[in-house]
Protein backbone atom coordinates (compact mmCIF):
# COMPACT_ATOMS: atom_id res chain seq x y z
CA UNK A 1 0.00 0.00 0.00
CA UNK A 2 1.41 3.40 -0.82
CA UNK A 3 2.31 5.63 2.09
CA UNK A 4 0.82 8.82 0.77
CA UNK A 5 -2.97 9.20 0.70
CA UNK A 6 -2.54 10.91 -2.66
CA UNK A 7 -1.38 7.77 -4.46
CA UNK A 8 -4.15 5.82 -6.22
CA UNK A 9 -4.39 2.05 -6.55
CA UNK A 10 -4.78 0.21 -9.83
CA UNK A 11 -8.30 -0.76 -10.85
CA UNK A 12 -10.11 -2.04 -13.92
CA UNK A 13 -13.30 -0.90 -15.60
CA UNK A 14 -15.39 -4.06 -15.72
CA UNK A 15 -18.63 -2.87 -17.26
CA UNK A 16 -19.99 0.29 -18.84
CA UNK A 17 -23.70 1.12 -19.11
CA UNK A 18 -25.04 4.12 -20.90
CA UNK A 19 -27.78 5.79 -18.88
CA UNK A 20 -29.07 8.45 -21.21
CA UNK A 21 -30.14 8.64 -24.84
CA UNK A 22 -27.27 11.04 -25.56
CA UNK A 23 -24.80 8.74 -23.74
CA UNK A 24 -23.47 11.74 -21.85
CA UNK A 25 -24.02 9.87 -18.57
CA UNK A 26 -22.59 6.39 -18.08
CA UNK A 27 -22.34 4.00 -15.15
CA UNK A 28 -18.96 2.35 -14.72
CA UNK A 29 -18.54 -0.79 -12.65
CA UNK A 30 -14.95 -1.03 -11.43
CA UNK A 31 -12.84 -3.29 -9.27
CA UNK A 32 -9.43 -3.06 -7.65
CA UNK A 33 -6.84 -5.31 -9.28
CA UNK A 34 -5.52 -6.39 -5.88
CA UNK A 35 -8.09 -8.84 -4.42
CA UNK A 36 -7.08 -7.96 -0.85
CA UNK A 37 -7.83 -4.30 -1.51
CA UNK A 38 -11.13 -5.22 -3.17
CA UNK A 39 -12.13 -7.32 -0.17
CA UNK A 40 -11.27 -4.57 2.28
CA UNK A 41 -12.86 -1.69 0.40
CA UNK A 42 -15.66 -0.71 2.75
CA UNK A 43 -17.69 2.38 2.07
CA UNK A 44 -21.00 3.93 3.08
CA UNK A 45 -23.70 5.57 1.01
CA UNK A 46 -22.81 9.18 0.31
CA UNK A 47 -19.07 8.63 0.14
CA UNK A 48 -16.97 9.33 -2.93
CA UNK A 49 -13.71 8.21 -4.49
CA UNK A 50 -11.05 9.84 -6.65
CA UNK A 51 -10.80 8.26 -10.10
CA UNK A 52 -7.59 8.80 -12.07
CA UNK A 53 -7.13 8.89 -15.79
CA UNK A 54 -3.34 9.05 -15.81
CA UNK A 55 -2.03 11.73 -18.12
CA UNK A 56 -5.24 13.72 -17.74
CA UNK A 57 -6.07 14.02 -14.07
CA UNK A 58 -8.36 12.99 -11.24
CA UNK A 59 -12.00 13.53 -10.46
CA UNK A 60 -13.98 13.02 -7.25
CA UNK A 61 -17.06 10.94 -8.02
CA UNK A 62 -19.73 9.73 -5.63
CA UNK A 63 -20.16 5.99 -5.31
CA UNK A 64 -23.51 4.99 -6.73
CA UNK A 65 -23.51 1.31 -5.78
CA UNK A 66 -24.72 0.27 -2.35
CA UNK A 67 -22.44 -1.16 0.35
CA UNK A 68 -25.12 -3.76 1.13
CA UNK A 69 -24.18 -5.58 -2.09
CA UNK A 70 -20.54 -6.52 -1.69
CA UNK A 71 -18.22 -6.93 -4.64
CA UNK A 72 -19.86 -4.32 -6.82
CA UNK A 73 -18.41 -0.82 -6.99
CA UNK A 74 -20.13 1.58 -9.37
CA UNK A 75 -19.65 5.20 -10.36
CA UNK A 76 -22.07 7.20 -12.46
CA UNK A 77 -20.24 9.83 -14.45
CA UNK A 78 -21.42 12.72 -16.57
CA UNK A 79 -19.21 13.93 -19.42
CA UNK A 80 -18.32 17.44 -18.27
CA UNK A 81 -14.60 18.26 -18.46
CA UNK A 82 -11.22 16.81 -19.36
CA UNK A 83 -11.12 13.96 -16.90
CA UNK A 84 -14.73 12.85 -17.31
CA UNK A 85 -14.30 13.08 -21.09
CA UNK A 86 -11.33 10.74 -20.82
CA UNK A 87 -13.29 8.32 -18.62
CA UNK A 88 -16.11 8.33 -21.15
CA UNK A 89 -13.68 7.34 -23.88
CA UNK A 90 -12.53 4.32 -21.86
CA UNK A 91 -13.57 0.78 -22.75
CA UNK A 92 -14.30 -2.25 -20.58
CA UNK A 93 -11.06 -3.84 -19.49
CA UNK A 94 -9.22 -0.54 -19.37
CA UNK A 95 -7.27 0.37 -16.26
CA UNK A 96 -7.73 3.42 -14.06
CA UNK A 97 -6.56 4.68 -10.69
CA UNK A 98 -8.87 4.62 -7.66
CA UNK A 99 -8.41 5.99 -4.14
CA UNK A 100 -10.95 6.31 -1.41
CA UNK A 101 -13.54 6.15 0.05
CA UNK A 102 -13.66 9.75 1.14
CA UNK A 103 -16.04 12.00 2.98
CA UNK A 104 -18.86 11.48 5.40
CA UNK A 105 -22.02 9.53 4.64
CA UNK A 106 -25.77 9.75 4.77
CA UNK A 107 -27.05 9.53 8.36
CA UNK A 108 -28.71 6.11 8.27
CA UNK A 109 -29.09 5.94 12.04
CA UNK A 110 -31.10 9.14 12.06
CA UNK A 111 -33.26 7.79 9.21
CA UNK A 112 -34.20 4.47 10.85
CA UNK A 113 -37.89 4.08 11.55
CA UNK A 114 -38.75 7.28 9.68
CA UNK A 115 -40.65 7.94 6.48
CA UNK A 116 -38.15 8.77 3.77
CA UNK A 117 -38.61 11.28 1.00
CA UNK A 118 -35.90 11.15 -1.68
CA UNK A 119 -35.81 14.04 -4.13
CA UNK A 120 -33.40 13.96 -7.04
CA UNK A 121 -32.82 15.91 -10.22
CA UNK A 122 -31.07 14.78 -13.38
CA UNK A 123 -27.71 13.25 -12.91
CA UNK A 124 -27.81 13.77 -9.15
CA UNK A 125 -29.82 10.60 -8.71
CA UNK A 126 -26.39 8.89 -8.62
CA UNK A 127 -25.49 9.47 -4.95
CA UNK A 128 -29.14 8.98 -3.95
CA UNK A 129 -29.28 5.64 -5.73
CA UNK A 130 -26.67 4.22 -3.37
CA UNK A 131 -28.73 5.32 -0.40
CA UNK A 132 -32.07 4.20 -1.85
CA UNK A 133 -30.80 0.70 -2.65
CA UNK A 134 -29.14 0.58 0.76
CA UNK A 135 -32.40 1.42 2.47
CA UNK A 136 -34.46 -0.93 0.29
CA UNK A 137 -32.08 -3.80 1.10
CA UNK A 138 -33.13 -3.33 4.71
CA UNK A 139 -36.69 -2.32 3.95
CA UNK A 140 -38.19 -3.24 7.29
CA UNK A 141 -36.07 -0.72 9.17
CA UNK A 142 -37.73 2.26 7.53
CA UNK A 143 -41.26 3.64 7.19
CA UNK A 144 -42.95 4.80 4.02
CA UNK A 145 -40.58 5.59 1.15
CA UNK A 146 -41.27 8.08 -1.65
CA UNK A 147 -38.83 8.72 -4.46
CA UNK A 148 -39.39 11.92 -6.41
CA UNK A 149 -37.20 12.37 -9.47
CA UNK A 150 -37.10 14.55 -12.55
CA UNK A 151 -34.93 15.17 -15.59
CA UNK A 152 -35.01 17.46 -18.57
CA UNK A 153 -36.56 14.89 -20.89
CA UNK A 154 -37.34 11.14 -20.95
CA UNK A 155 -33.98 10.55 -22.70
CA UNK A 156 -32.18 12.19 -19.78
CA UNK A 157 -33.63 9.93 -17.09
CA UNK A 158 -30.96 7.86 -15.34
CA UNK A 159 -31.27 4.39 -13.84
CA UNK A 160 -34.48 3.65 -15.72
CA UNK A 161 -34.40 -0.01 -14.69
CA UNK A 162 -34.52 0.91 -11.00
CA UNK A 163 -37.06 3.68 -11.49
CA UNK A 164 -39.62 1.77 -13.51
CA UNK A 165 -39.04 -1.92 -12.86
CA UNK A 166 -37.20 -2.45 -9.60
CA UNK A 167 -38.07 0.15 -7.00
CA UNK A 168 -41.76 0.07 -7.84
CA UNK A 169 -41.90 -3.52 -6.63
CA UNK A 170 -41.15 -2.70 -3.00
CA UNK A 171 -43.84 -2.52 -0.39
CA UNK A 172 -45.08 0.89 0.75
CA UNK A 173 -42.72 2.54 -1.73
CA UNK A 174 -43.79 5.14 -4.26
CA UNK A 175 -41.77 6.22 -7.30
CA UNK A 176 -42.79 9.54 -8.83
CA UNK A 177 -41.01 10.59 -12.01
CA UNK A 178 -41.49 13.83 -13.92
CA UNK A 179 -39.77 15.40 -16.92
CA UNK A 180 -39.40 19.08 -17.85
CA UNK A 181 -40.73 18.25 -21.30
CA UNK A 182 -42.10 15.00 -22.57
CA UNK A 183 -41.88 13.26 -25.92
CA UNK A 184 -44.44 11.39 -28.00
CA UNK A 185 -44.04 8.23 -25.92
CA UNK A 186 -44.07 9.82 -22.45
CA UNK A 187 -47.35 9.41 -20.60
CA UNK A 188 -46.19 10.49 -17.14
CA UNK A 189 -46.24 13.88 -15.40
CA UNK A 190 -44.58 16.87 -17.03
CA UNK A 191 -43.13 19.75 -15.00
CA UNK A 192 -40.24 20.77 -12.77
CA UNK A 193 -39.41 18.81 -9.64
CA UNK A 194 -40.21 21.46 -6.98
CA UNK A 195 -43.84 22.13 -8.03
CA UNK A 196 -44.29 18.40 -8.70
CA UNK A 197 -43.07 17.69 -5.19
CA UNK A 198 -45.51 20.17 -3.72
CA UNK A 199 -48.36 18.65 -5.70
CA UNK A 200 -47.63 15.27 -4.11
CA UNK A 201 -48.01 16.96 -0.70
CA UNK A 202 -45.87 14.55 1.34
CA UNK A 203 -46.27 14.70 5.10
CA UNK A 204 -43.38 16.02 7.16
CA UNK A 205 -44.42 14.02 10.22
CA UNK A 206 -41.72 11.54 11.31
CA UNK A 207 -40.04 12.10 7.97
CA UNK A 208 -36.60 12.78 6.62
CA UNK A 209 -36.08 14.38 3.21
CA UNK A 210 -32.86 13.65 1.32
CA UNK A 211 -32.23 15.70 -1.79
CA UNK A 212 -29.50 15.96 -4.45
CA UNK A 213 -29.61 17.98 -7.61
CA UNK A 214 -28.37 21.00 -9.51
CA UNK A 215 -28.04 24.13 -7.32
CA UNK A 216 -31.13 25.83 -8.74
CA UNK A 217 -33.29 22.81 -8.14
CA UNK A 218 -31.97 22.36 -4.61
CA UNK A 219 -32.70 25.96 -3.75
CA UNK A 220 -36.31 25.60 -4.83
CA UNK A 221 -36.74 22.14 -3.31
CA UNK A 222 -35.55 23.46 0.06
CA UNK A 223 -38.15 26.20 -0.16
CA UNK A 224 -40.83 23.65 -1.03
CA UNK A 225 -39.82 21.39 1.86
CA UNK A 226 -40.02 24.32 4.22
CA UNK A 227 -43.51 25.07 2.94
CA UNK A 228 -44.45 21.45 3.52
CA UNK A 229 -43.41 21.76 7.14
CA UNK A 230 -40.00 20.05 7.12
CA UNK A 231 -37.72 21.39 9.84
CA UNK A 232 -34.04 22.06 9.03
CA UNK A 233 -32.82 18.98 10.85
CA UNK A 234 -35.22 16.81 8.82
CA UNK A 235 -33.57 17.77 5.55
CA UNK A 236 -30.32 16.27 4.24
CA UNK A 237 -28.43 17.27 1.10
CA UNK A 238 -25.01 17.02 -0.55
CA UNK A 239 -22.59 19.72 -1.69
CA UNK A 240 -20.27 19.73 -4.67
CA UNK A 241 -17.04 21.67 -4.84
CA UNK A 242 -13.92 21.52 -6.97
CA UNK A 243 -11.49 19.13 -5.29
CA UNK A 244 -7.87 18.22 -5.71
CA UNK A 245 -6.50 16.19 -2.82
CA UNK A 246 -9.73 14.79 -1.43
CA UNK A 247 -8.18 14.38 2.01
CA UNK A 248 -8.46 17.80 3.60
CA UNK A 249 -4.98 19.14 2.83
CA UNK A 250 -4.98 21.25 -0.30
CA UNK A 251 -7.42 23.82 1.03
CA UNK A 252 -9.52 24.08 -2.10
CA UNK A 253 -12.96 22.69 -1.24
CA UNK A 254 -13.61 24.66 1.92
CA UNK A 255 -16.95 26.20 2.73
CA UNK A 256 -16.07 28.31 5.72
CA UNK A 257 -14.13 26.15 8.13
CA UNK A 258 -15.41 22.87 6.68
CA UNK A 259 -13.79 20.87 3.92
CA UNK A 260 -16.39 19.25 1.70
CA UNK A 261 -14.05 16.33 1.03
CA UNK A 262 -13.73 15.26 4.68
CA UNK A 263 -16.57 17.00 6.55
CA UNK A 264 -19.04 16.51 3.70
CA UNK A 265 -20.39 16.01 1.11
CA UNK A 266 -23.46 15.19 3.19
CA UNK A 267 -24.88 18.02 5.30
CA UNK A 268 -28.19 18.54 7.06
CA UNK A 269 -29.93 21.81 6.35
CA UNK A 270 -29.19 22.87 9.92
CA UNK A 271 -25.45 22.42 9.26
CA UNK A 272 -25.68 24.08 5.87
CA UNK A 273 -27.26 27.20 7.32
CA UNK A 274 -24.29 27.59 9.67
CA UNK A 275 -21.90 27.73 6.72
CA UNK A 276 -21.15 30.86 4.69
CA UNK A 277 -23.08 30.78 1.40
CA UNK A 278 -20.04 30.05 -0.73
CA UNK A 279 -21.03 26.87 -2.54
Amino acid sequence: MPESPLIPLVGTIDKITSETAASDIKTFQVSFDDPAVMDNFNYQSGQCAMLSMFGVGESMISITSTPTRKGVIEFCIKKTGRVTDAIHEAVAGQKLGIRGPYGNHFPLEMMKGKNLLFIGGGFALAPLRSLINNVLDNRKEYGRIDIVYGARSPGDLCFKYELFENWTKYENTGVHVTVDRGDDKWTGPVGFVPPYLESLNPSAKDSVAITCGPPIMIKMVLQSLSKLGFADDQVVTTLEMKMQCGVGKCGRCNVGGKYVCVDGPVFTLTQLKQLPPEF
Binding site: P2, E3, S4, P5, L6, I7, P8, L9, V10, S52, F54, G55, V56, G57, E58, S59, T80, G81, R82, V83, T84, K95, L96, G97, P215, E240, M241, K242, Q244, C245, V247, G248, K249, C250, G251, R252, N254, V255, G256, G257, K258, V262, P276, E278, F279
Partner: protein
Amino acid sequence: MLMTIAPDNLKNLLDKLARDRLLVAPSMEDGVTRLKPVHSAAEIAFDYSNTATSIKDFLFPQSEDLLRFVTDGTLSIEEIKPERAQVAFGLRPCDLASVALMDKVLLGGEFSDAHYQTRRNNTLLIGLACENPADTCFCTTYGYNPGWAGAADVMLYKDGDKYLAEALTDKGRELVGGPGEGLFKPADEAAGEAVKKAYAEKDVPFGKEVDVQGIDKILDGFFYDQYWDDISKKCIGCGTCTYVCPTCHCFLLTDEARGGQGLRFRCWDSCMFANYTKMASGANPRPTKKERVRQRFMHKLNYYPNRYGGSYLCTGCGRCVAMCPVGLHIAGVIKDVKGVKAHA
Protein backbone atom coordinates in the same frame (compact mmCIF):
# COMPACT_ATOMS: atom_id res chain seq x y z
CA MET B 1 20.89 22.34 29.06
CA LEU B 2 22.27 25.56 27.64
CA MET B 3 25.51 25.66 25.70
CA THR B 4 27.63 28.12 23.79
CA ILE B 5 29.37 27.84 20.45
CA ALA B 6 31.97 30.15 18.91
CA PRO B 7 31.15 31.55 15.44
CA ASP B 8 34.08 29.70 13.82
CA ASN B 9 32.98 26.42 15.36
CA LEU B 10 29.46 27.07 14.13
CA LYS B 11 30.77 27.58 10.60
CA ASN B 12 32.82 24.38 10.90
CA LEU B 13 29.74 22.50 11.98
CA LEU B 14 27.72 23.81 9.07
CA ASP B 15 30.49 22.91 6.62
CA LYS B 16 30.56 19.40 8.09
CA LEU B 17 26.80 19.06 7.67
CA ALA B 18 26.95 20.37 4.10
CA ARG B 19 29.15 17.45 3.13
CA ASP B 20 26.44 14.80 3.32
CA ARG B 21 23.22 16.81 3.42
CA LEU B 22 21.67 19.71 1.59
CA LEU B 23 22.47 22.84 3.58
CA VAL B 24 19.90 25.58 3.23
CA ALA B 25 20.73 28.95 4.73
CA PRO B 26 20.26 32.70 4.28
CA SER B 27 22.41 33.89 1.43
CA MET B 28 22.62 37.18 -0.40
CA GLU B 29 21.84 37.24 -4.12
CA ASP B 30 21.16 40.36 -6.23
CA GLY B 31 20.74 42.44 -3.10
CA VAL B 32 18.15 40.12 -1.58
CA THR B 33 18.72 37.65 1.27
CA ARG B 34 17.05 34.38 0.40
CA LEU B 35 16.84 31.02 2.11
CA LYS B 36 18.60 28.84 -0.41
CA PRO B 37 20.93 25.86 -0.79
CA VAL B 38 24.57 26.76 -0.11
CA HIS B 39 27.71 24.66 -0.44
CA SER B 40 29.60 26.03 2.51
CA ALA B 41 29.22 28.32 5.48
CA ALA B 42 31.21 30.95 3.60
CA GLU B 43 28.13 31.67 1.47
CA ILE B 44 25.92 32.34 4.50
CA ALA B 45 24.72 35.86 5.26
CA PHE B 46 24.46 36.71 8.94
CA ASP B 47 23.30 40.28 8.66
CA TYR B 48 19.58 40.15 7.77
CA SER B 49 16.19 40.59 9.41
CA ASN B 50 14.46 37.81 7.56
CA THR B 51 14.80 35.92 4.29
CA ALA B 52 12.62 36.82 1.32
CA THR B 53 11.40 33.24 1.09
CA SER B 54 10.63 30.90 3.97
CA ILE B 55 11.32 27.37 5.16
CA LYS B 56 8.11 26.40 3.35
CA ASP B 57 10.14 26.04 0.14
CA PHE B 58 12.06 23.13 1.63
CA LEU B 59 9.38 21.29 3.61
CA PHE B 60 6.58 21.83 1.15
CA PRO B 61 8.31 22.70 -2.13
CA GLN B 62 6.91 24.67 -5.03
CA SER B 63 6.60 21.50 -7.00
CA GLU B 64 6.93 17.94 -5.79
CA ASP B 65 6.76 14.67 -7.72
CA LEU B 66 4.30 12.19 -6.27
CA LEU B 67 4.26 9.23 -8.59
CA ARG B 68 5.36 7.82 -11.92
CA PHE B 69 2.90 5.95 -14.11
CA VAL B 70 3.05 3.80 -17.19
CA THR B 71 -0.13 3.44 -19.20
CA ASP B 72 1.37 1.58 -22.15
CA GLY B 73 -0.32 -1.79 -22.25
CA THR B 74 -1.41 -1.97 -18.65
CA LEU B 75 -1.23 0.46 -15.75
CA SER B 76 1.56 0.62 -13.22
CA ILE B 77 2.00 3.23 -10.52
CA GLU B 78 5.19 3.89 -8.59
CA GLU B 79 5.24 6.23 -5.60
CA ILE B 80 8.12 8.73 -5.52
CA LYS B 81 9.41 9.68 -2.10
CA PRO B 82 11.71 12.55 -1.17
CA GLU B 83 14.99 11.15 0.09
CA ARG B 84 17.38 13.99 0.60
CA ALA B 85 18.51 14.83 4.13
CA GLN B 86 18.47 18.57 4.73
CA VAL B 87 19.66 21.08 7.27
CA ALA B 88 18.00 24.49 7.40
CA PHE B 89 19.98 27.12 9.25
CA GLY B 90 19.13 30.65 10.31
CA LEU B 91 15.37 30.24 10.64
CA ARG B 92 13.63 33.08 12.41
CA PRO B 93 10.96 32.56 15.11
CA CYS B 94 8.14 33.47 12.72
CA ASP B 95 9.16 30.72 10.31
CA LEU B 96 9.75 28.26 13.17
CA ALA B 97 6.23 29.03 14.41
CA SER B 98 4.80 28.55 10.91
CA VAL B 99 6.07 24.96 10.82
CA ALA B 100 3.84 24.00 13.76
CA LEU B 101 0.83 25.56 12.02
CA MET B 102 1.55 23.64 8.81
CA ASP B 103 2.00 20.42 10.80
CA LYS B 104 -1.57 20.72 12.08
CA VAL B 105 -3.00 20.84 8.57
CA LEU B 106 -0.72 18.47 6.72
CA LEU B 107 -0.11 15.87 9.41
CA GLY B 108 -3.27 16.10 11.49
CA GLY B 109 -6.77 14.85 10.81
CA GLU B 110 -7.72 11.52 9.33
CA PHE B 111 -4.96 11.54 6.72
CA SER B 112 -1.30 12.43 7.02
CA ASP B 113 0.60 13.89 4.11
CA ALA B 114 3.42 11.41 3.67
CA HIS B 115 5.65 13.63 1.54
CA TYR B 116 5.55 16.48 4.03
CA GLN B 117 6.11 14.04 6.89
CA THR B 118 9.17 12.60 5.16
CA ARG B 119 10.66 16.02 4.62
CA ARG B 120 9.93 16.97 8.22
CA ASN B 121 11.71 13.84 9.36
CA ASN B 122 14.64 14.44 7.02
CA THR B 123 15.15 18.09 7.89
CA LEU B 124 17.12 19.44 10.81
CA LEU B 125 15.89 22.91 11.79
CA ILE B 126 18.41 25.32 13.30
CA GLY B 127 16.81 28.55 14.46
CA LEU B 128 18.45 31.92 15.00
CA ALA B 129 16.79 34.44 17.31
CA CYS B 130 16.16 37.93 15.91
CA GLU B 131 18.62 40.68 16.76
CA ASN B 132 16.90 43.30 14.61
CA PRO B 133 13.21 42.80 13.91
CA ALA B 134 12.18 44.71 10.79
CA ASP B 135 9.55 47.43 10.78
CA THR B 136 7.20 45.02 9.00
CA CYS B 137 7.57 42.30 11.67
CA PHE B 138 4.68 41.64 14.04
CA CYS B 139 5.22 38.17 15.52
CA THR B 140 4.37 39.48 18.97
CA THR B 141 0.81 40.10 17.80
CA TYR B 142 0.30 36.34 17.92
CA GLY B 143 2.15 35.72 21.16
CA TYR B 144 5.45 34.79 19.51
CA ASN B 145 8.62 36.81 20.13
CA PRO B 146 12.14 37.35 18.71
CA GLY B 147 13.43 34.45 20.82
CA TRP B 148 10.64 31.96 20.09
CA ALA B 149 12.07 28.52 19.29
CA GLY B 150 8.94 26.90 17.83
CA ALA B 151 9.79 23.79 15.83
CA ALA B 152 13.57 24.26 16.03
CA ASP B 153 15.73 21.24 16.77
CA VAL B 154 18.52 23.57 17.89
CA MET B 155 17.96 27.24 18.75
CA LEU B 156 20.78 29.79 18.66
CA TYR B 157 20.96 33.24 20.23
CA LYS B 158 23.77 35.63 19.32
CA ASP B 159 25.38 36.78 22.50
CA GLY B 160 28.29 39.16 21.97
CA ASP B 161 31.16 37.19 20.41
CA LYS B 162 29.52 33.80 20.69
CA TYR B 163 26.16 32.04 20.31
CA LEU B 164 24.04 30.65 23.08
CA ALA B 165 22.65 27.29 21.97
CA GLU B 166 19.93 24.95 23.13
CA ALA B 167 19.11 21.49 21.73
CA LEU B 168 15.35 21.09 21.97
CA THR B 169 14.66 17.73 20.36
CA ASP B 170 16.27 14.32 19.97
CA LYS B 171 17.45 15.34 16.50
CA GLY B 172 18.98 18.45 18.03
CA ARG B 173 20.74 16.48 20.74
CA GLU B 174 22.04 14.03 18.13
CA LEU B 175 23.52 16.96 16.25
CA VAL B 176 25.26 18.37 19.30
CA GLY B 177 26.63 14.99 20.36
CA GLY B 178 27.44 13.75 16.86
CA PRO B 179 28.78 16.17 14.24
CA GLY B 180 28.87 18.88 16.89
CA GLU B 181 31.04 16.99 19.30
CA GLY B 182 33.74 19.17 20.77
CA LEU B 183 32.31 22.33 19.23
CA PHE B 184 29.84 23.22 22.00
CA LYS B 185 30.72 24.23 25.56
CA PRO B 186 28.37 24.24 28.54
CA ALA B 187 26.99 27.69 29.33
CA ASP B 188 26.38 29.38 32.62
CA GLU B 189 22.68 28.55 33.11
CA ALA B 190 21.75 31.83 34.76
CA ALA B 191 23.55 33.97 32.20
CA GLY B 192 22.07 31.88 29.39
CA GLU B 193 18.53 32.26 30.71
CA ALA B 194 19.07 36.01 30.91
CA VAL B 195 20.10 36.09 27.24
CA LYS B 196 17.00 34.13 26.25
CA LYS B 197 14.82 36.42 28.31
CA ALA B 198 16.29 39.52 26.70
CA TYR B 199 15.47 38.18 23.24
CA ALA B 200 11.96 37.18 24.27
CA GLU B 201 11.31 40.70 25.52
CA LYS B 202 12.89 42.53 22.57
CA ASP B 203 10.80 45.32 21.15
CA VAL B 204 8.79 44.62 17.97
CA PRO B 205 7.22 48.06 17.29
CA PHE B 206 4.84 47.05 14.52
CA GLY B 207 3.63 44.14 16.64
CA LYS B 208 2.40 46.60 19.25
CA GLU B 209 0.21 48.30 16.64
CA VAL B 210 -1.50 45.12 15.49
CA ASP B 211 -3.89 43.61 18.03
CA VAL B 212 -5.48 40.35 17.00
CA GLN B 213 -7.30 39.50 20.23
CA GLY B 214 -10.76 38.08 19.58
CA ILE B 215 -10.66 38.71 15.84
CA ASP B 216 -11.88 35.21 15.05
CA LYS B 217 -15.09 35.96 16.95
CA ILE B 218 -15.53 39.33 15.25
CA LEU B 219 -15.07 37.68 11.86
CA ASP B 220 -17.81 35.15 12.64
CA GLY B 221 -20.26 37.93 11.90
CA PHE B 222 -18.22 39.69 9.22
CA PHE B 223 -18.88 37.55 6.14
CA TYR B 224 -21.46 39.87 4.61
CA ASP B 225 -19.73 43.12 5.51
CA GLN B 226 -19.31 45.80 2.85
CA TYR B 227 -15.66 45.92 3.92
CA TRP B 228 -14.76 43.06 1.56
CA ASP B 229 -16.27 44.85 -1.46
CA ASP B 230 -14.24 47.94 -0.64
CA ILE B 231 -10.93 46.35 0.19
CA SER B 232 -10.89 43.95 -2.76
CA LYS B 233 -10.97 46.80 -5.26
CA LYS B 234 -7.23 47.27 -4.75
CA CYS B 235 -6.24 43.66 -5.28
CA ILE B 236 -4.44 42.95 -8.55
CA GLY B 237 -4.67 39.18 -8.23
CA CYS B 238 -0.92 38.65 -8.54
CA GLY B 239 -0.78 35.90 -5.91
CA THR B 240 2.37 37.33 -4.29
CA CYS B 241 0.91 37.15 -0.78
CA THR B 242 0.18 33.43 -1.05
CA TYR B 243 3.57 32.81 -2.60
CA VAL B 244 5.70 34.39 0.12
CA CYS B 245 3.50 33.36 3.03
CA PRO B 246 5.06 30.57 5.14
CA THR B 247 1.65 29.16 6.07
CA CYS B 248 -0.14 29.20 2.72
CA HIS B 249 -0.41 25.61 1.58
CA CYS B 250 -2.97 25.32 -1.20
CA PHE B 251 -1.82 22.98 -3.92
CA LEU B 252 -3.00 21.31 -7.08
CA LEU B 253 -2.27 17.93 -8.59
CA THR B 254 -1.40 17.65 -12.23
CA ASP B 255 -0.16 15.06 -14.69
CA GLU B 256 2.46 15.30 -17.39
CA ALA B 257 2.63 12.47 -19.84
CA ARG B 258 4.25 11.56 -23.10
CA GLY B 259 4.01 8.35 -25.04
CA GLY B 260 2.33 6.15 -22.47
CA GLN B 261 4.27 7.20 -19.42
CA GLY B 262 4.50 10.17 -17.18
CA LEU B 263 4.52 11.82 -13.85
CA ARG B 264 1.94 13.16 -11.39
CA PHE B 265 3.15 16.02 -9.25
CA ARG B 266 1.73 18.65 -6.99
CA CYS B 267 2.55 22.33 -7.10
CA TRP B 268 1.54 25.46 -5.27
CA ASP B 269 -1.74 27.07 -6.17
CA SER B 270 -3.40 30.19 -4.85
CA CYS B 271 -6.91 30.92 -3.65
CA MET B 272 -6.40 34.35 -5.19
CA PHE B 273 -6.55 33.01 -8.75
CA ALA B 274 -9.76 33.18 -10.76
CA ASN B 275 -9.92 29.48 -11.62
CA TYR B 276 -9.09 28.20 -8.16
CA THR B 277 -12.62 27.03 -7.31
CA LYS B 278 -14.02 26.84 -10.82
CA MET B 279 -15.68 23.51 -11.51
CA ALA B 280 -15.78 21.65 -14.83
CA SER B 281 -19.41 22.66 -15.23
CA GLY B 282 -18.32 26.30 -15.17
CA ALA B 283 -19.85 27.03 -11.74
CA ASN B 284 -17.57 29.03 -9.47
CA PRO B 285 -18.47 29.82 -5.84
CA ARG B 286 -15.87 32.60 -5.82
CA PRO B 287 -16.38 34.36 -9.13
CA THR B 288 -14.88 37.76 -8.27
CA LYS B 289 -11.93 39.21 -6.39
CA LYS B 290 -14.17 40.11 -3.47
CA GLU B 291 -14.93 36.49 -2.63
CA ARG B 292 -11.29 35.51 -2.96
CA VAL B 293 -9.89 38.35 -0.89
CA ARG B 294 -12.47 37.55 1.78
CA GLN B 295 -11.58 33.86 1.63
CA ARG B 296 -7.89 34.56 2.17
CA PHE B 297 -8.35 36.59 5.32
CA MET B 298 -11.21 34.52 6.70
CA HIS B 299 -9.08 31.41 6.26
CA LYS B 300 -6.14 32.92 8.15
CA LEU B 301 -8.11 34.54 10.94
CA ASN B 302 -11.35 32.59 11.32
CA TYR B 303 -11.65 29.26 9.48
CA TYR B 304 -8.25 27.94 10.62
CA PRO B 305 -8.69 28.77 14.33
CA ASN B 306 -12.24 27.39 14.21
CA ARG B 307 -11.05 24.15 12.72
CA TYR B 308 -7.75 23.58 14.47
CA GLY B 309 -8.36 25.42 17.71
CA GLY B 310 -6.54 28.44 19.08
CA SER B 311 -3.85 29.67 16.70
CA TYR B 312 -4.28 31.93 13.73
CA LEU B 313 -2.74 30.84 10.42
CA CYS B 314 -0.26 33.72 10.50
CA THR B 315 2.97 34.29 12.41
CA GLY B 316 3.55 37.96 11.72
CA CYS B 317 6.57 37.45 9.47
CA GLY B 318 5.56 40.57 7.56
CA ARG B 319 6.43 39.29 4.09
CA CYS B 320 3.00 40.14 2.68
CA VAL B 321 3.29 43.57 4.29
CA ALA B 322 6.59 44.13 2.50
CA MET B 323 5.72 42.52 -0.83
CA CYS B 324 2.12 43.34 -1.71
CA PRO B 325 2.30 45.93 -4.50
CA VAL B 326 -0.92 47.59 -3.32
CA GLY B 327 -0.44 47.29 0.44
CA LEU B 328 -3.41 44.96 0.95
CA HIS B 329 -2.06 42.75 3.74
CA ILE B 330 -3.14 40.93 6.84
CA ALA B 331 -1.85 43.46 9.37
CA GLY B 332 -3.94 46.14 7.72
CA VAL B 333 -7.00 43.92 7.60
CA ILE B 334 -6.66 43.05 11.28
CA LYS B 335 -6.47 46.72 12.17
CA ASP B 336 -9.45 47.57 9.96
CA VAL B 337 -11.61 44.82 11.28
CA LYS B 338 -10.83 45.79 14.83
CA GLY B 339 -11.93 49.28 14.02
CA VAL B 340 -8.76 51.23 13.54
CA LYS B 341 -8.55 52.40 9.92
CA ALA B 342 -5.07 51.51 8.64
CA HIS B 343 -5.54 51.63 4.87
CA ALA B 344 -5.37 55.04 3.26
